[in-house]
């Protein structure tokens, strides 16, 4: 009987650019379902850590695993379980919100994609304008569309890089509903809105110059059958 497999875990994860270790021997483990705020000054390595965990950035040494899949051995299986939100909008400006989600639904092979897409577009308030080219939508709607793309395939883990950027209060409420307050999901979100953190986060992972200075207590003894 496997108890408490950490949703996200890192083992001496390191990323070196030339002589500088931007992420240096980082180890932590996060319980499934927990909501962790990733804090730290600019250049502390937050985005690089999120990039390493989402397999977008290749590690220099060490390892990490998400939902039991290691980035070193089966990154494809790992990516099935993560939803990613980064600085760049990561949506196609020339395609409409509907076409954007249809493409990603095919890429992720989402079952009954049409209903899922409609449900999400309605949730983020883009259903009425689903056929217009995304380029004419405001930055906030880009972020909402990106959020919808991140949760489209119902991932167990969400890796969000400053998800609040560009969102108005209604958008932030959506972020809470879809991700931060969603019990079924583990979230690791880098954020600068520190005053909101204690409202949604049940733990903090703080980085300083590539090292962990504060982390939630590691997932207790793993007993696997």
């Amino acid at each position: 009987m496997t108890t408490a497999v950490p949703a996200i875990a890192a083992f001496d994860l390191t990323k070196r650019y030339g002589g500088v270790a931007v992420v240096s021997n980082i180890s932590f483990s996060l319980r499934a379902g927990s909501k962790i705020a990733l804090l730290g000054h600019n250049g502390a390595g937050k985005s690089t850590l999120l990039g390493l965990l989402s397999t977008l950035i290749t590690r220099t040494s060490g390892d990490a695993s998400i939902a039991g899949h290691a980035i070193s051995t089966n990154p494809i299986e790992l990516r099935r379980n993560i939803g990613v939100l980064a600085h760049l909008p990561m949506v196609y400006e020339e395609l409409s919100p509907l076409e954007n989600l249809e493409f990603f639904a095919r890429l992720y092979e989402v079952p009954e994609a049409a209903t899922r897409i409609e449900e999400l577009l309605r949730a983020v308030g883009l259903w009425r304008r689903r056929r217009e080219p995304t380029s004419i939508l405001s930055r906030g709607y880009h972020q909402r569309l990106a959020l919808a793309r991140a949760v489209l395939h119902r991932p167990a883990v969400l890796l969000l890089d400053e998800p609040e950027t560009g969102l108005d209060p209604a958008g932030i409420a959506l972020l809470d509903q879809l991700a931060l307050d969603n019990p079924a999901v583990t979230v690791l979100a880098a954020t600068h809105l520190v005053d909101r953190v204690d409202r949604w986060a049940d733990g903090v992972l703080r980085l300083d110059r590539g090292c962990v200075v504060e982390a939630p207590d590691p997932v207790t003894a793993e007993v696997s059958s």
Binding site: Y17, G18, G19, V20, T58, R209
Partner: protein
Amino acid sequence: MSALWQVLVAIFWWVIHTLLEPIWNARWVALPPLTGVMMMAMIVGAVLVAPREIVEGEVQRLMYIHVPVATISYLAFFVTAVASAIFLIGRDMRWDAIARGAATVGIMLTAFALLTGAIWGKPTWGVYWSWDARLTATLVLFLIYSGYLLARAVGGPNDEQAARYAAVVGIIGYIDIPLIHFSVDWWRTLHPQRIIFAPKPALPGEMLLVLLLGFLGILFLTLWLITLRGTTEYLVQRADRVRARLDQLERA
């Protein structure tokens, strides 16, 4: 990775460590004198020992430099391709330094081949450049690996992304060689038949001997240059790493 693949990789590294390591360690001791002796023998051979070619006259003695240099430049690019492949597998930046060093040496060798070929060609065929199949192939290689260096220079000495990209160019460039030779050979050939590698050697004994000296001389020279150049690239990487480390500390 499948078990078989891991076994192969393990054997590969065992070969590298047990066989090549000692040779690699002895490089500074062995290579310079060997190169010196061989090059001396080559000069004496080319100028004095080898008989004068009746038709082409004295300038034909350039063959003892041109042919070895043109041939061994392929070895330099082979080192680049293999070092690039090892870098892509092990991601160890030292192999990137060796690949880059070998490419630089390879480009220099091809430049010498083209130059001596032109100087040899002028009195013999009346033209500096004759679009001959083999010279053209050498020129194409010169361009490909100049592109390799340009692609590598896009990033800094320790820029892994630029190193990976350049490694791909280094490997593709080498695999392209047979295709280049086929297309260029069918396209045009003026060069005298391969007098050395022709089934029956058209060269008298002494010429062959001196040519062999030339090959050995250029071979050791190339190995020595690749080691020198590789070490330089490695030191550039180390300096860049320490400098980056210093910036980080001073900025903090």
